[in-house]
């Protein structure tokens, strides 16, 4: 791979890493609120440190510079010189946000929001200035370098007192007295290498002094008893020479004498010719500095960090060997398995035409095949499953920020974070959940004073729970706030013409009115919610996923929103129905019941619509043959079956000729090769290899409204 391509790849890894690190920082910072323990602070520090280092290495200087301030703050907290305060945490959280945006911008090769970053950097600088850290080194400043050179900066370079050595031949140069400590060699600091490096700076004359070397019997091979006098010719910067000995500064005694060359007599009196044992100033510094952090125990971090660690790549990641796989590959695999299921089902049907003996063998083989295929399918579907914690993760932060903003006290409880669901469903349920939680916080929960006055604890509770129930995943958003105000909702609904003035509605029906478009009982529109565009979008999004959402509430006590979603988008539990010679599929989730309709219950309504009296309610009737333009067995309602379905909170009766089998079908889209069709949600391939269309039940509502009521919705 060319250098550029390789660097692009490495940058990609850096970006991913950084986002993961930022997530770790965020969830750890939220935990810090409650208990400021060392391990958590260290973790946050490390994450910031990594980002800073990586950014600098790859040339993303703005990111690196900004992170430096953050890192400094964290370092002070880490070594105890700065207290962990809610304000500091808030600033750090905001910095994480800022960093995230910055990294996104860098990744997309877009300009960063310099103003925002500057503001944050300013605040950090101010905070740092207010409590100067008592660390051994001043924070965020260039290297003090007390240890680097034998002579501290202000000290003048010792001019050689004696006559310049012959080797220098009258030109400028240095005489270096180099005496390693006994243990210098132990760290593989080989003098010969250092001399080789000096030679690169100028001509070198090495004079060894072995006088201190003990007798062979006492000699330890790795103890250095040698010392050298080095004569280096050339106009060389002292700094360059010091660099050569940089690593061994603390393990040796070294002195430098400079000769300016050409007859310049040394002016200053000789500084002690004897080697100055330079115990680096760093040694005491090292003693007082923070001792190396003890090996960090493998603390299992909060869900957020775990989620961040879990998908870590193949290069020796932390957990039980996981790999990243592109979703394209997984989808392809799922297609293949779908094929296998169809083939297996086709074969099963062929078994009907064989001789008894062959038949037995064939049947056995097929049973085995069926079992294998089913297992394979389940395993493959599993690959796309992810725990809902990925969606729940953003809520601690969200609730934290929002409750501060609204001045409410809230405790967030999460349960069932490990419940798994399909990746695409997960991604699409995230925003609706955010809206529901914001709503609960904004409108559901009362302010602390109001709660106390109502005899409730000051701190309200919001619960997010997820669990599996009968092939679906249920997500609940519960709050112990004020609940829905029946009267208010009814009034608002009447005002908007959604409900007739004299209509009688059950509590449930009233509660579910909040999902209607444009509906909001909020007196003021906060920027959080209240604009009334939320709940209906939430419901539509959930329906698009093949799910349903309901709300139940008790005035004064709180509300519970219950979302039911299929575990996966790709597979549907379907009811096959027949209209004439055509087979269609209706999602089982949408079906309430199927009945044999009686003619006398059918009523025509001006405008062309038909209503059927089902017990105590009237439901519109959709004749599927009309919708799809096909020939049915019979047009008489009493000859067919009425499939009662529910969509968008209202019920419909769909007239078909017959019910066929129920089966799981793999959902395929018409849009790849054709296009979207009104009333059709997709297509599937049946066991006999033919294509059947999947009825779009929520879409039926639309089509029905348009064709019969001129776009106006029917009152319930």
């Amino acid at each position: 791979m060319s250098l550029d391509l390789e660097m692009e790849e490495i940058h990609k890894i850096f970006f991913e890493e950084s986002f993961e690190g930022l997530d770790v920082m965020e969830s750890s910072l939220l935990n810090l609120d409650v208990n400021a323990d060392r391990e958590t602070i260290a973790r946050i520090f490390r994450a910031a440190h990594s980002i800073k280092g990586g950014a600098a290495t790859f040339g993303f200087m703005e990111v690196s510079n900004f992170t430096h301030g953050v890192e400094t703050l964290l370092d002070e907290m880490r070594n105890g010189t700065r207290p962990v305060t809610p304000d500091a945490i808030q600033l750090l959280l905001q910095s994480v946000d800022g960093l995230r945006e910055m990294v996104k911008a860098v990744q997309a090769k877009q300009p960063i929001d310099a103003q925002r970053i500057a503001l944050l950097a300013d605040e950090i600088a101010q905070l740092l200035a207010r409590h100067p850290g008592k660390a051994a080194e001043p924070p965020a400043v260039a290297a003090p370098a007390p240890a680097a050179s034998a002579a501290a900066a202000p000290e003048p370079v010792a001019e050689g007192a004696n006559a310049a050595p012959e080797f220098l031949a009258g030109g400028p140069g240095w005489v270096i007295d180099f005496q390693p400590h006994r243990d210098m060699l132990k760290t593989n600091n080989e003098p010969l290498r250092m001399f080789a490096e000096l030679e690169r700076l100028g001509a070198l004359n090495v004079i060894a002094d072995a006088s201190a070397v003990p007798a062979l019997a006492e000699l330890q091979p790795d103890a250095c008893h040698l010392r050298w006098r080095l004569e280096l010719a050339g106009a060389i910067e002292k700094r360059a020479i010091e660099e050569v000995f940089d690593w061994v500064d603390a393990n040796c005694s070294i002195s430098y004498q400079h000769y300016a060359g050409t007859g310049a007599a040394p002016a200053a009196p000789p500084v002690a010719a004897a080697p100055v044992a330079v115990e680096a100033a760093a040694a005491p510094a090292a003693a007082t500095a923070v001792s190396a952090p003890p090996p960090e125990a493998v603390a299992v971090p909060a869900a957020g960090a775990a989620a961040a660690a879990a998908p870590k790549g193949a290069s020796g990641g932390g957990d039980a060997g996981s790999i990243r796989v592109s979703t394209t590959k997984v989808d392809h695999l799922i297609n293949l398995v779908g094929e296998l299921v169809i083939t297996q089902s086709m074969l099963s049907r062929f078994a009907d035409g064989c001789s008894p003996a062959e038949l037995e063998k064939l049947r056995e083989g097929l049973t085995q095949l069926t079992r294998n295929t089913r297992e394979l399918q389940e395993s493959v579907m599993q690959i796309r499953m992810l725990p809902i914690s990925f969606a729940f993760n953003r809520f601690p932060r969200l609730v934290h920020d929002l409750s501060r903003k609204l001045g409410k006290k809230v405790e967030l409880k999460l349960s069932g974070e490990g419940t798994e669901l399909d990746k695409t469903v997960l991604e699409k349920i995230s925003d609706p959940l955010v809206h529901l939680v914001r709503n609960a916080l904004d409108h559901g929960l009362e302010k602390p004073e109001a709660r106390v006055a109502a005899g409730k604890p000051e701190t309200g509770t919001i619960e997010l729970a997820a669990f599996h129930e009968g092939g679906n995943i249920i997500i609940e958003v519960k709050d112990d706030g004020g609940g829905l105000n029946r009267a208010k909702i009814l009034k608002r609904a009447r005002e908007r013409g959604l409900v007739a003035d004299d209509a009688e509605l059950s509590d449930d029906q009233i509660h579910n009115l909040i999902f209607a478009a444009g509906f909001s009982t909020a007196d003021t529109i906060s920027d959080v919610s209240g604009r009334g565009v939320g709940m209906d979008v939430v419901r539509r999004n959930i329906q698009d996923l093949g799910g349903v959402v309901q709300i139940s509430s008790t005035e004064g006590a709180g509300s519970t929103i219950r979302i039911r979603l299929p575990l996966t988008l790709a597979i549907l539990d379907g009811q096959l129905v027949r209209v004439g010679a055509h087979t269609y599929v209706i999602s089982l989730v949408a079906i309430v019941e199927t009945i044999q309709a009686q003619k006398d219950r059918l009523n025509a309504v001006p405008g062309g619509a038909e209503l059927f009296r089902l017990r105590d309610e009237y439901i519109p009737v959709v004749r599927l043959y009309e919708m799809f333009g096909v020939e049915p067995d019979s047009r008489a309602i009493e000859d067919g079956l009425l499939v009662v379905v529910e969509a968008e909170g209202r019920r419909f009766g769909v007239l078909v000729d017959d019910l066929l089998a129920q089966q799981q079908v793999v959902i395929k889209t018409l849009e790849t090769n054709y296009r979207q069709v009104a009333g059709v949600a997709g297509a599937t391939i049946l066991g006999d290899g033919t294509v059947a269309l999947i009825v779009d039940v929520p879409g039926l509502v639309q089509v029905f409204n348009e064709s019969f009521t001129g776009g106006q919705t029917l009152a319930a």
Binding site: P146, A280, E296
Partner: protein, 120 residues
């Protein structure tokens, strides 16, 4: 000037960069995500140079150097720690733990190769 280099850093992007740079120069590279992994590997195999970051979970770079020096096979193996400009005490801690020297972050590929050439 080949040899086996053990590169230890919890940041995958850093490891990649080091890997790419060193491999390009003809070295063999083994990667480890933290001190524990590095130590384990070093015990069972032999490497010619250890290059380690300091801040890592489970076991940091300084401790790693100390542990390695305690192993007979690694008494004299060159070891370099990656530190930042301002971290004087980390450099000293590294030396005290037995490191041969350090490389200052951020570094570019040339600096990395030059420094390694000093010890390998």
């Amino acid at each position: 000037m080949a040899g086996v280099i053990l590169a230890v850093d919890d940041s995958a992007s850093m490891r990649q960069m080091v890997n790419f740079t060193l491999k390009g120069a003809g070295y063999d590279v083994v990667q480890a995500v933290d001190g524990v992994e590095a130590l384990e590997y070093a015990r069972k195999n032999s490497v010619d140079l250890v290059l380690t970051d300091v801040n890592m979970p489970r076991m940091d770079g300084i401790t790693l150097v100390k542990e390695l020096r305690a192993l007979p096979a690694y008494r004299y193996t060159p070891m370099l720690v990656l530190t930042t400009e301002s971290s004087q005490d980390k450099k000293m801690q590294g030396k005290q733990a037995g490191a041969t020297g350090w490389i200052v972050k951020p570094f570019n590929p040339d600096q990395l190769l030059a420094t390694i050439a000093r010890v390998l």
